[in-house]
């Protein structure tokens, strides 16, 4: 890719990832949640892969790593979601209303689900880009 896209990517990539993390963390307060946040993070990495080539992007996240992290995170997700069934009384809100800490389990699940979505999408994009 040409020099403009490379330089723009270099400048924008940290902001894209920070924006994705922001959306993940505020999923229970503002529009968004696990899926949009994960997609934003993954699209940042995909932009890196398009402009600098697959080699460079694989230095950030390896395919095998993405696959294994995805599996572990999915396992954790299963544990938490099934745990909700038994812990209904423990999940009543405790923190300040409209604060970041107001719905702990939704926050946790949003972040974990976002990691899962971003890893899966990074993996799929890398695989489909292979020659």
């Amino acid at each position: 890719m040409d020099v403009i896209i490379r330089n723009v990517t270099k400048g924008l990539l940290p902001f894209i990832i920070v924006f994705g993390v922001y959306i993940l963390l505020h999923g229970h307060l503002t529009p968004g949640g696990s899926f949009p946040g994960g997609v934003i993070i993954a699209s940042g990495v995909a932009l890196l892969a398009i402009s600098f080539g697959l080699r460079k992007a694989e230095r950030l996240v390896k395919e095998e790593t993405a696959h294994v992290v995805e599996g572990i995170v999915a396992l954790f997700l299963v544990l938490v979601v099934l745990f909700e069934s038994f812990a209904r009384d423990m999940l009543t809100p405790t923190g300040m209303a409209f604060g970041l800490w107001s719905a702990q389990h939704v926050l946790l699940l949003n972040v974990v689900g976002g990691v899962m979505v971003s890893m899966a999408l990074i993996l799929i994009v890398f695989l489909l880009m292979k020659e």
Binding site: I72, A74, V78
Partner: protein
């Protein structure tokens, strides 16, 4: 109990890839089978609300007799196939077992859920893992079959999604029991019913939607072909039954009878002209599902009993045959009927019993359900009995074709069969003979399921009362 079952299955799915041990998947699937056996003993309807929410607001899994019967069948067939595949699949086995666990989760979820959108999600788990497994061998047949199946399958599951959206717009709820109490028989509801039934009839392979199946099965490994023709079709029929149950429309239905009769005849005729053994068995599966759809269309007690009985028998026989013929493919490497001659006495006995049972010869299980089907159709119209008998005769013809090609051919390969491939086949053969000799054993399993299906009020009170 349900939660532990799901936890074990999901954990096995993710662990197989990380730890790279196939035994985890086999143990998990066997565990699910035994826990379903335990739940089958329980006489009451069990309701489990996920997340601790009460029925119309959260997702519930309802375990009535029909559900549990299907889940028992599904996990049983899956565990037999999981054991068989340990030797049959030679490469990329971890990925194969991951996908097998996922397909089991999908089948179990579709059969046990009590929420219509949850059903769609699990249906998609089932479909996506099926597409991946069809493409598993990565040759030309596999690619073509997988792409065709993916296109047709995703289109019909989108029909299901439109049907769900229509039902939500019309009633404002997604729970089966709540839907059942709010649905009327006005024309807009009937459109939603039609879309949902069309969506499920792809998995059940009723005639206008049958074309993907032989193509898909031609490319798959033989054990996955067994899953497609036995339990996957059973899940499709279960979906149709459950939708009719929600609409309280289990009564005589000439559309289902017509399509069932066409499916039955066309499947048998198409099976007769095939040369590839997997394609032949795939068309045979289409034909057997035709019987089931026809008798479900009768809506009588005898009709539904014989239909469910035939689902059970078809699952056992088709799995047995696919596994037996899979051993032949494993040994000779050929799928063409003319090149498959071999010599092995235990395999000959097992496949012979399977083929006889498929065509309905008396002391075997295929005869029992076919006899019940003939009786049920005689009550409605003798014409239908005649059609069923013609299809049955065609079944005998192509069964003999398979048998003669495999065991009576001139070119014979002396072969030694690995034990782990033969044991599941022998277990299934024993089951076939057992049900044939003691038909009451099968009937005792099915009668509670039929009663659950015909009694809608019991379901609604169990979901909302408990």
């Amino acid at each position: 109990m349900i939660v532990y079952l799901l936890l074990v299955l999901f954990a096995a799915t993710f662990l197989v890839l990380i730890v790279k041990r196939d035994e985890i998947a086999i143990i998990a699937i066997l565990f699910s089978f035994f826990s379903m056996c335990y739940m089958f003993m329980n006489p009451e309807i069990m309701v489990f609300g996920f997340g601790g929410w009460s029925p119309p607001f959260g997702i519930v899994w309802v375990l009535d007799k029909l559900n549990v019967f299907l889940a028992l069948l599904v996990t049983g067939i899956s565990s037999v196939i999981a054991v068989y595949s340990l030797k049959y699949i030679k490469e990329r086995r971890h990925r194969y077992y991951t996908l097998l666990c996922l397909i089991t989760i999908g089948l179990l979820g579709v059969s046990l859920t009590g929420d219509i959108f949850n059903l769609y999600v699990f249906f998609e788990i089932l479909s996506v893992s099926s597409y991946a497994l069809v493409a598993f061998f990565l040759n030309e047949h596999a690619i073509e079959g997988a792409f065709k199946y993916l296109m047709v399958g995703s289109m019909t599951s989108l029909f299901i999604l439109i049907g769900i959206a229509m039902l939500y717009g019309l009633t404002g709820t997604l729970n089966f029991a709540d839907l059942a109490s709010k649905i009327s028989h006005d024309p807009p509801y009937m459109v939603a019913l039609g879309l949902l039934v069309a969506g499920f009839s792809l998995k059940a392979t009723i005639v206008p939607f049958h074309a993907w199946k032989p193509d898909a099965i031609e490319g798959t490994p033989a054990p996955i072909g067994a899953i497609f023709t036995s339990v996957s079709t059973a899940i499709g029929v279960y979906g149709i039954l459950r939708i009719l149950f929600i609409f309280n429309l289990i009564q005589i239905n000439w559309v289902l009878i017509l399509f069932g009769a066409i499916t039955m005849l066309l499947g048998a005729l198409m099976a007769l002209v095939q040369v590839n053994v997997k394609r032949m068995l795939a068309y045979s599966g289409v034909s057997q599902i035709g019987y089931v759809i026809m008798v479900i269309g009768f809506g009588t007690l005898l009709g539904i009993t014989s239909g469910l009985y035939h689902i059970l028998n078809n699952a056992l026989i088709k799995t047995l045959l696919f596994m037996g013929i899979g051993i032949g493919i494993y040994l000779t490497g050929k799928e063409n009927l003319n090149e498959m001659g071999m010599k092995n006495t235990p395999l000959l006995i097992c496949v012979g019993i399977g083929l006889l049972s498929l065509s309905g010869i008396p002391p075997l299980n295929g005869f029992v359900s076919k006899w019940l089907i003939f009786m049920a159709s005689w009550e409605i119209s003798p014409m239908l009995t005649a059609i069923a008998i013609i299809a049955s005769a065609l079944t005998l013809a192509y069964s003999f074709k398979i048998f003669s090609a495999m065991f009576l051919a001139n070119r014979k390969i002396e072969a030694k069969v690995p034990k782990i491939l033969l044991i599941p086949v022998i277990i299934l053969t024993a089951l076939c003979v057992f049900i044939g000799v003691f038909p009451q054993a099968g009937l005792n399993m099915i009668e509670p399921a039929v009663n659950a299906l015909l009694n809608q009020n019991q379901y609604i009170t169990a979901v909302f009362g408990g």
